[in-house]
Structure formats: C-alpha cells, structure tokens
Symmetry: C2
Amino acid sequence: MQIARSIPEMKALRSKCVESVGFVPTMGYLHEGHIELVRVARRDNPVAVVSIFVNPTQFAPNEDYKAYPRDLDRDLSVLDKVKTGIVFIPDSDEMYAGGYNTWVDVQGITGKLEGKSRPTHFRGVTTICNKLFNIVQPDKAYFGQKDAQQALVIQKMVADLNMNLEVIVCPTIREKDGLAMSSRNTYLTDSERLSAPVLYRSLCMARDMFAKGERDAGIIRKAMADLISQEPAAKIDYVSIADMQTLDEVDTIKSKALVSLAVRLGKPRLIDNIVLG
Amino acid sequence: MQIARSIPEMKALRSKCVESVGFVPTMGYLHEGHIELVRVARRDNPVAVVSIFVNPTQFAPNEDYKAYPRDLDRDLSVLDKVKTGIVFIPDSDEMYAGGYNTWVDVQGITGKLEGKSRPTHFRGVTTICNKLFNIVQPDKAYFGQKDAQQALVIQKMVADLNMNLEVIVCPTIREKDGLAMSSRNTYLTDSERLSAPVLYRSLCMARDMFAKGERDAGIIRKAMADLISQEPAAKIDYVSIADMQTLDEVDTIKSKALVSLAVRLGKPRLIDNIVLG
C-alpha cells in the first residue's frame, strides 16, 4: 500500500497506474460501510485509491468539523488489510491553498432535504469531490447509498461537467439492529444508541406499507413520524418521500421514490434512507 | 481535419490522441488572434483541437448572444489551412442538456473590471471551459491576453480545482492601427472603427508615462480618460490600473500592473489591456 501525502505525490502515483482505478473518497474514521466500498472498488479495478480528508468546506461554522472523529493509524491498518493500492491523505492547507476561491455548485436538488438543513454543505462536497476527481483521475468512484442525496448530487455534477468517470452507488451497510453505519454513530451515548434503530425501523415500516399497496405519501410519512416520536430522545428534522430525480416531495408514490429522514438523537444528527418502487 | 459534432464524438477522437493535445476554445467568427493561438498550439503539440461554441451562459439577457457573428464555413476553411487536427462544434442542447444545473464559480477576481459590468459573465466562462476541458482533456489550453481577466480567471479555476492542464496566455494580436482583434469589431460602423484605436493609443500613453517614471496610477488613469474623451463617440466603462493577482486598483505602481479598459463606441463595447512592469 502506497501513501501519498501531497497532491503532486498522488498525481505521480496515479500516472503510473495503467489499468483502471477505483476511488473511494472518505473523511476517515472508517467503518464497515467504507470498507465494503473499498472491497467493491478492488473487485472492479486493479487499483483502489482511498482518500482520507476531513473536508472543512462541507461543515458549517456551527457543525462538528473540529470534533469529527479521526484515527489515521487504525484507518491505514484496515485499508492495508483490504489491499488498498494507494491512500491519499492530503493536507487542508494544500487543498485550499492561500487565496483559494473556486466553487463547484450543483443547484436545484441541493436546496432540498439535507441542503435545507445544511445550506453550504453540498457546495463543499461537490467542490472537494471535483478536486479529488481531478487529482486521482479515477475510472470509477464509489459512494454509499446511505448518503443518497450526496450520491445524486455527485452524479449530477459528473454528468453536467462531462467528467470522465463513473459514479457507483453501493448499498448501505447496517449494524445488526439496522442502524446505518456512520462515523458519527460514535457520538451516540449508550441510551441514544439504543434509540437509534428507530430510523431504520421507520423505513422498514414505510417499505411494508408500500408493499401492502399504500401509495399515499402523506399517510406513510405520518406513520413514520409517529413511530419515531415514540422515542423520547428523537427530534425529527425531516421525514421525506421524494421524487428520485428532483427530490421534490410527492403526494402519491407513482414510480420510484426516495424515503429519507434526518433525526436528532440528543446532539448527534443521523440520516438514513431507502428506495421504494 | 476531423470534425466532432457531439460530446461522445469528441471524446472518441481524443482517446485516439496518444501525444500531447493543445486546445483553443473559441466562439467562432475567427480572426487572426484566434489563428495565432492555433498556430502556437500546433507548434507546441502534435494535435490542436479548436472548439467553436457561442456559449449562451456567458451572455446576460441584454447582451448580444443572438447577434454574435457566426460564419462556420469560413471558420472551418481557415482552421483547415493552419492544420487544426480536430474541430469540436458542440450543440447547445447537448452542452446544457435538460435540467442542466451545475456551475463553476471563481469568486473574488470575477467581481472586478469586466465582472462588475457583466456580473454573470465569468460564471458562464468558467463553467463552459471546465466542461470543454473535461471533454477535450487537453495538455495545454491557449487563451489571448486581450481577455486578460478571463485568462486570469481560467488559470485560477485550473489551479484551484487541480485540473490537469496548463493554461498558456498568448500576446494580443492587433490591426495595423493598434486596435485589438475581436469578433465584436465587426459591429463597428465606419466612423466608430476610425475612433476605435484610441483604446490602444491610451494604453501606449500609459506605457510611455510609466517608462518616463510615472508611478501614480491616478495620474495615468486620468490622462488615459482625458485622451479617450477626445473621441466624441467614446463612452468609458472603466479605465483601470490594477494588481495583477487580485485585480484591486492600485494607487502607486510598485511591481507589475494590469492597465485595462472598457469603452463603448456607439453600441459596441471594446476592451483592451497591457501589462506594465
């Protein structure tokens, strides 16, 4: 496993890869969800590149940039085990060098769901992914379905800007009790951790209602919210059933729909989703 | 000379180029300024790609998108003569396909000079250049010094987003009387055309004053404005002496400075510049 700690180092290593490169951009503190993305990348490509970079520009000033969990030694040891070819650990000062002032902005869908609660978040995500794609020049980049809106936004950027890679979205990896894996799960207290599976339970309930023929999105949303509200620690940010392309809320589920939610459990804010149809 | 009329065609032709590719993005209606860029691109690279695309997103609604001069047959014949390898003539509907919604924005320097008069202009320029760079994947892209701010903005985007090409700025090509070549010069009436060299005359005067030791930017700006005002048809938009990096106006010329101006002659709006120091 080779480690690149600067942009020129990464570009130099990339230029030596003659076959296809799979790329998994991460903010580190890797869990099984990330590792599964690396496994898929390795299965599809001779070389998997993983970046570890807690990207400051996707955090708002009131968010957890400084507190975001970090454990580089453990990350490197895990990545070595799954035969990662190259780990790219850029430096924030190099990525956003003095006078940095260029932003990549996907409009429209970034104003919905997560974007409504976190108005500058996706601009930070698309900008850093654009930069990382230019540096790593992957043939394929792998993202988790857990951040469904992020995956849609990245796919939209890649298509609109004619970037030369394929974005592949892999299924959400869950704990045994259904909680979607996330580096932020470490923020949960023991009792919050016990409440956390309610997010997935509410999604499963939506799936069951849909399977039994319910097509009224409002009825499903309300049932989900009612279930979540039974957890005293849970504070709903949103429960959404939206069109897969526009992320506009739907009244009636006609074709595919994204069921997604954001819930605060104490301080931590958790998100999850499934696709119906 | 090969012609690509769609993005997949262009990408397919590009993938067959094994050696370095030089790229000259244009809006067509080519003049000697463009042709000189193609010559330099051909001198530096085995293959020169020229794009012809009047980019709607860099025109404001009140600007001349529809009226912008076009002559594809003449352009192709001229490009063939200077041994252009590939001409890319994309379609607006393909470049901005249904639901297009991604923008690349260089902030800061785009708010000055041309950006002040044309607030959405540079966002259109950076977005289309980003797309064209991704499609053509050039090793080097060539721009004219005549659009000095545009060249700076593109260089900033390429550096900030870690794009894999070099931006090369070539000297302004002028008519015998000093008027900088521009497709928009065709808008000038005969009498406006006679007045037009006053832009370059004022720049030469600035150069002379600087050569004789004048370092007070205000004095030079005023002398330039006075000279231009002697042409009754001329209406000054701006006369600027600015820092080369920030494009902030300077009081005293200490190192390099960009002397630039925009002047309306009747309807047409002309720009020009030189670098001092």
